[in-house]
């Protein structure tokens, strides 16, 4: 594909991510932080986010699988996840954390499981989207173009 077209679709894709609420302004913050001194900043942070989230989601699955659920622990994990997701601007994941924490407070295992399910879904969605985005980026870079800045 031609660079210009790639760039256009990148911009479009980005816009759709924002429009559909997968990402919020915090992601733009990350993009702004990326400069020549650390050119892969966004990818690094997001990869870290993936790692972290997967670990947390695993922990959460384990914790909620226990016969006696340690809700405090669960809550701490969700808090972590919330912090991470809000830091990268994964808005929909972050939004799922709020009801999750409420369910923890209510000590409602079933509701927690439902929340976990939902959060996993959202996570996978945003992960896919972000990976697609990064692939696009790489293609642009590979074809010698500059990543367009999206406001």
């Amino acid at each position: 594909m031609e660079v210009g077209q790639l760039q256009r679709s990148f911009v479009e894709y980005m816009a759709s991510l924002f429009r559909e609420g997968f990402l919020d302004a915090q992601f733009s913050q990350l993009q702004q932080l990326q400069d020549d001194s650390n050119p892969d900043f966004v990818v690094e942070v997001v990869s870290l986010f993936f790692e972290d989230s997967e670990r947390l989601l695993n922990d959460l699955t384990m914790a909620l699988d226990q016969p006696n659920v340690e809700f405090k622990q669960v809550d701490a994990h969700v808090h972590q996840l919330k912090g991470s997701s809000s830091s990268v601007g994964a808005q929909r994941v972050k939004n799922c954390c709020v009801p999750f924490r409420i369910c923890c407070e209510e000590q409602n295992t079933e509701a927690c499981l439902r929340c976990l399910q939902q959060i996993k879904q959202e996570y996978l969605l945003v992960k896919n989207k972000l990976q697609t985005l990064f692939e696009l980026e790489q293609q642009i870079v590979a074809s010698g173009g500059a990543i367009p800045m999206v406001q």
Partner: protein, 1010 residues
């Protein structure tokens, strides 16, 4: 016929009487005959009462007759009475007449019979030749009767016919008998007639015996009079009649104390005196003249009956000829009604006024609300503008440090100055709206007026671009330490000073501080004592502070700098004793202070004059001087710039603090702005200030020099000439200052300075830098000479010390300045401030002296920041942001690690996550704060964090850090569970909400870092 007519007449009479009934008691109609059936019981009572009151009527009877004779009304009244009487009489006559009629009819009948008989007789006599007419006399009568009433009473005739028929049977004898019989009848008839005549006579007599009309009239009148009395006796009514000269002829219900002779025959004016009398007289006269009845309300105020209001009705009395012959007058007292009415009117008026006020108020409220809204909007807008603008300005500042050619620099400088101006304007607007909306809160903190004055002057001197002398005089009686809102006071001072400098082209600008006895004369003495006791405490503080900078002291000491030797000895001794010693002494000193007799707070009024030798203010501009957006004139604004808000803010701030600002000025000679504010003077013993009390005992003997420093009442900042800007020093002045007791101060400065010069890589040009700084700080060149070896000594000292003591010093200083500016902490160490000032100064001077020295600036603005955050992603993001903002950070992952980090390193700022595993940010903050206050990590130990003693640094480090307060900015995830209040309550200074953005981070860093 007659009958009918009469009855008609009677009816007419009745009608007429009825029409009149309104004038009379109702039962007076039918000619008052019903008086006769008045119930006796009541009547008697009534009459009794009436008789009692009889004397309230005074009648001129002659006049009454006259009246009845002459006045229409009187005569008609009389006529009615007469008519009534006549009617009665006529009635009786009618009855009698009817009786008479009957009688005459009977007589006629009998006459008729007689006639018949006579006819017969005649006939017979004619027949017999007789010509006798025995009843000839009766003929005429008969004729009349026949003519008049012949057809009547046929019945009788028939009876007689019958008789006739019976008698016809006989002869002459029979006729004779018959004649006899008739004679008898005639006789009987005559007898009857006689009786009737008698009866008639009797009834006539009766009639005559009945009362005469006058009698009856007077009786009727009497009754009417009684009734009138009865009705009117208690009514607040005066009724009177006055003749055409307005002399009273009759009065009813006259004023009780007046007798008949006092009234009758006199006029109002003759009887009464006082207000209203003349008016009523005139009114009556008017009625008299016009001949038309009228009413009027007249208020009397006479000596007789006081102030009373009467409603007076006056009607003219007309003679039959239509001339007025007097007036009837009727007055009713309506004082109460009038009063009520007036009250009502007043009430109504008040209500109307109230309503008007209300609407006015509503309008005002509306306007005020509008204004408030507008102001609020202005404030909001200003706030919204400020944030991005401060970004622009600070970026421009950074830009100005980069390499630029001359033209670019000029442009950037214009940007900077305009940006600063707008920023200032917005800040002013915000300040104003804060004060006006009552949002501004005053803080009460301890501060030292001398320092404030000095700092303000120093700051002004540093940015001074004119050849001006800045000086400060502080009277001795000004307490060392007072309580007030130092930020605001500083703001006022700075404002006034910068104004003064702005409008002064040559000469001097200065501040004078002295205690004034206003408003309580007793305060002054109290403040004296207070000062004395403050004194010792302050001394203690100084020495304590000396300890903080002890490495340099030691150095000085070894060098043998005389004035300070004793103090340093003491310090050294303390140093050797270590920290424990301090706490013991601390206890001791507290005990001492408890016995201090003067404990309660007093208020002292301090007057501050800011004078200049500038252009002055024209007299006509003075009244508007403190108004918003007002400058002396349009020219001034053009020439000098400025927002015109400065003085308005000063005034409002001063008033907010309970004081006031005044100005006196002479055009072309200068102005003096004066503000007088009340300050509280704190009791000496303030155990929360533990740092400052630590070594009071030890230092009593050694603190004379410090004493001078604290109490020094004079500062001067001589003008920098362009030539001497970087190098020249006035040795003479320096000596003078030394003589003035600045020696200790000077040494302190040298203490501070090497630290400074050490921490910044300025070694190569130390002396130059030092020079300019010293100049700004009014330190003599004598000191400068010492500063060079001093700093070198420091170097060696520090080189022997592997830890970062020098840097710590610097951080202390820098941080302290932050405290001073932002948190305004009382616990800040005085000498630290000195150092701070110097660092500031040196930074400034390095900025201004080496305008191309971006490198230097960069190295100086490298504060140490600790990030406490468990979330790796957040750490990564924040670190990147910090890097972009030009800061490096240390990172730890929980509260415990944060406490450890603080134990080992000095930080200028901590960014602290609130919610963390192991130990949350709130607890960590509490522990750090506790350490800062107590100087030990006991609470941390209690929480399970053992202090890992680093051998080289720990004791000294703890000592130092005990005097500074690290700004801690919380990073909160949501506002619900980690509320801002909670953050503040746990000792945090500010908070940034997550997710952290570059902008938010920058703003909070800007607030706490230089």
């Amino acid at each position: 016929m007659v009958c009918e007519m009469e009855s008609d007449q009677a009816e007419d009479m009745e009608m007429e009487v009825e029409e009149l009934s309104s004038m009379w008691p109702e039962d007076m109609n039918e000619a008052g005959k019903q008086f006769n059936i008045d119930r006796p019981g009541e009547d008697q009572d009534m009459l009794e009462e009436v008789t009692i009151n009889d004397d309230s009527t005074i009648v001129d009877f002659k006049r009454l007759t006259e009246l009845t004779n002459y006045s229409e009304k009187g005569s008609s009244q009389l006529a009615y009475l007469v008519k009534n009487w006549e009617y009665k009489q006529e009635n009786a006559v009618r009855l009698l007449r009817e009786e008479l009629d009957n009688l005459s009819k009977q007589q006629q009948e009998s006459e008729l019979k007689k006639l018949e008989i006579l006819e017969k007789y005649q006939f017979e006599e004619e027949r017999y030749g007789g010509d006798k007419r025995p009843i000839s006399i009766l003929d005429e009568e008969l004729k009349i009767y026949i003519f008049q009433e012949a057809p009547r009473k046929r019945n009788d005739v028939r009876v007689q016919d019958k008789l006739e028929i019976d008698a016809e049977y006989d002869s002459i004898k029979y006729w004779k008998q018959r004649a006899k019989h008739l004679d008898k009848l005639l006789e009987a008839s005559a007898q009857r007639e006689q009786i009737l005549i008698e009866k008639l006579q009797e009834s006539i007599e009766n009639l005559e015996r009945q009362s005469s009309p006058v009698e009856e009239l007077s009786q009727i009148l009497k009754r009417a009079d009684n009734f009138l009395h009865f009705v009117l006796q208690n009514a607040p009514v005066v009724i009177g009649h006055q003749d055409n000269e307005l002399r009273y002829r009759f009065i009813y219900n006259h004023f009780p104390s007046l007798r008949e002779e006092d009234i009758i025959g006199k006029t109002d004016v003759e009887i009464f005196t006082g207000a209203g009398v003349k008016e009523s007289q005139d009114f009556k006269r008017e009625v008299l003249e016009r001949g038309i009845p009228a009413k009027r309300e007249i208020t009397f105020d006479t000596g007789l009956f006081g102030s009373k209001t009467f409603l007076i009705y006056v009607e003219p009395v007309l003679s039959k000829a239509g001339e007025t012959i007097g007036v009837n007058y009727m007055g009713m007292e309506i004082t109460d009604q009038v009063r009520k009415r007036e009250k009502m009117a007043k009430l109504r008026e008040e209500i109307a006024v109230q309503k008007a006020k209300e609407t006015e108020l509503n309008k005002t409220i509306h306007i005020t609300e509008e204004t408030m809204r507008a102001k609020q909007m202005l404030a909001t807008m200003s706030h919204e503008i400020r944030s991005p603008l401060s970004g622009v300005v600070s970026m421009t500042e950074i830009l100005s440090t980069t390499k630029m050619d001359k033209e670019q620099r000029q442009l950037v400088n214009v940007m900077l100055s305009s940006g600063d101006l707008v920023l200032q304007l917005i800040n002013d607007i915000l300040d104003l709206s804060k004060v006006e909306s009552g949002v501004m809160k005053l803080e009460a903190t301890k501060f030292r007026p001398r320092e404030v004055v000095k700092h303000v002057l120093q700051t002004a001197a540093a940015s001074l671009q004119k050849i001006l002398t800045l000086e400060g005089h502080i009277a001795e009686d000004v307490p060392i330490e007072v309580i007030g809102d130092v930020l605001r006071i500083r703001q006022i001072l700075t404002n006034l000073i910068s104004n003064a400098i702005k409008f002064t082209h040559e000469g001097k600008v200065g501040i004078k501080l002295y205690v004034v006895p206003e408003p309580y004369p007793g305060v002054k003495q109290g403040s004296h004592k207070r000062m004395a006791s403050d004194h010792s405490k302050v001394l203690a503080k100084i020495c304590k502070e000396d300890k903080c900078t002890s490495p340099s002291h030691n150095a000085l000491d070894r060098k043998g700098s005389g004035g300070c030797k004793d103090a340093d000895d003491a310090n050294e001794r303390l140093m050797q004793n270590g920290e424990c010693n301090y706490s013991e002494q601390n206890g001791a000193s507290i005990e001492d202070e408890v016995v201090d007799p003067i404990q309660q707070e007093t208020t002292v009024w301090i007057r501050c004059d800011v004078y200049d030798t500038g252009i002055g203010i024209p007299e006509n501009a003075i009244p508007t001087l403190f108004k918003k957006y007002m400058q002396v004139g349009a020219d001034t604004a053009r020439k000098y710039g400025g927002t015109g808000l400065g003085l308005a803010i000063c005034k409002q701030l001063a008033e907010l603090m309970g004081g006031h600002v005044t100005v006196s000025s002479k055009e072309h000679h200068g102005s003096t702005f004066t503000f007088i504010l009340p300050y509280r003077v704190s009791p000496v013993c303030d155990s929360s200030d533990d740092n400052e009390e630590l070594s009071e005992m030890d230092n009593h003997d050694t603190s004379s020099e410090g004493n001078d420093d604290i109490n020094s009442g004079f500062f001067q900042f001589q003008p920098r000439t362009l030539g001497s800007l970087f190098s020249s020093h006035n040795s003479g002045r320096g000596t003078k200052l030394l003589e003035n007791g600045f020696g200790f101060n000077t040494l302190n400065k040298t203490n501070g300075f090497p630290v400074n010069s050490h921490s910044f890589p300025l070694d190569s040009n130390t002396s130059r830098e030092t020079g300019s700084v010293e100049d700004a700080c009014s330190v003599a060149d004598a000191v400068e000479t010492s500063s060079e070896p001093e700093s070198s000594f420091r170097h060696t000292l520090n080189s022997g010390n592997p830890s970062t003591s020098g840097r710590d010093q610097k951080i202390n200083g820098v941080f302290d300045r932050r405290c001073l500016a932002s948190t305004n902490s009382v616990t800040t160490n005085r000498d630290q401030r000195e150092i701070t000032e110097k660092i500031e100064k040196s930074q400034r001077s390095s900025e201004c002296s080496s305008s191309n020295g971006a490198k230097i600036l960069k190295t100086t603005s490298k504060p140490k920041i600790l990030l406490v955050e468990d979330n790796k992603i957040l750490v990564m993001v924040t670190r990147s942001m910090m890097r972009q903002l030009g800061y490096g950070i240390d990172i730890v992952n929980n509260g415990v690690e944060a406490v450890r980090a603080v134990q080992h390193n000095r930080y200028d700022l901590i960014l602290m996550d609130v919610c963390m595993p192991v130990m949350d940010g709130l607890q960590a903050t509490r522990l750090i704060r506790s350490f800062e206050e107590s100087g030990n990590w006991d609470t941390a130990k209690d929480a399970g964090i053992d202090e890992e003693v680093s051998p080289s640094n720990s004791s000294q480090g703890s000592d130092e850090s005990s005097i500074k307060r690290i700004p801690i900015i919380a990073m909160t995830a949501n506002a619900l569970s980690e509320s801002a209040e909670e953050c503040y309550a746990n000792g945090m200074d500010s908070f940034v909400s997550k997710p952290v953005t570059l902008q938010k981070l920058k703003e909070s860093l800007q607030e706490y870092l230089p």
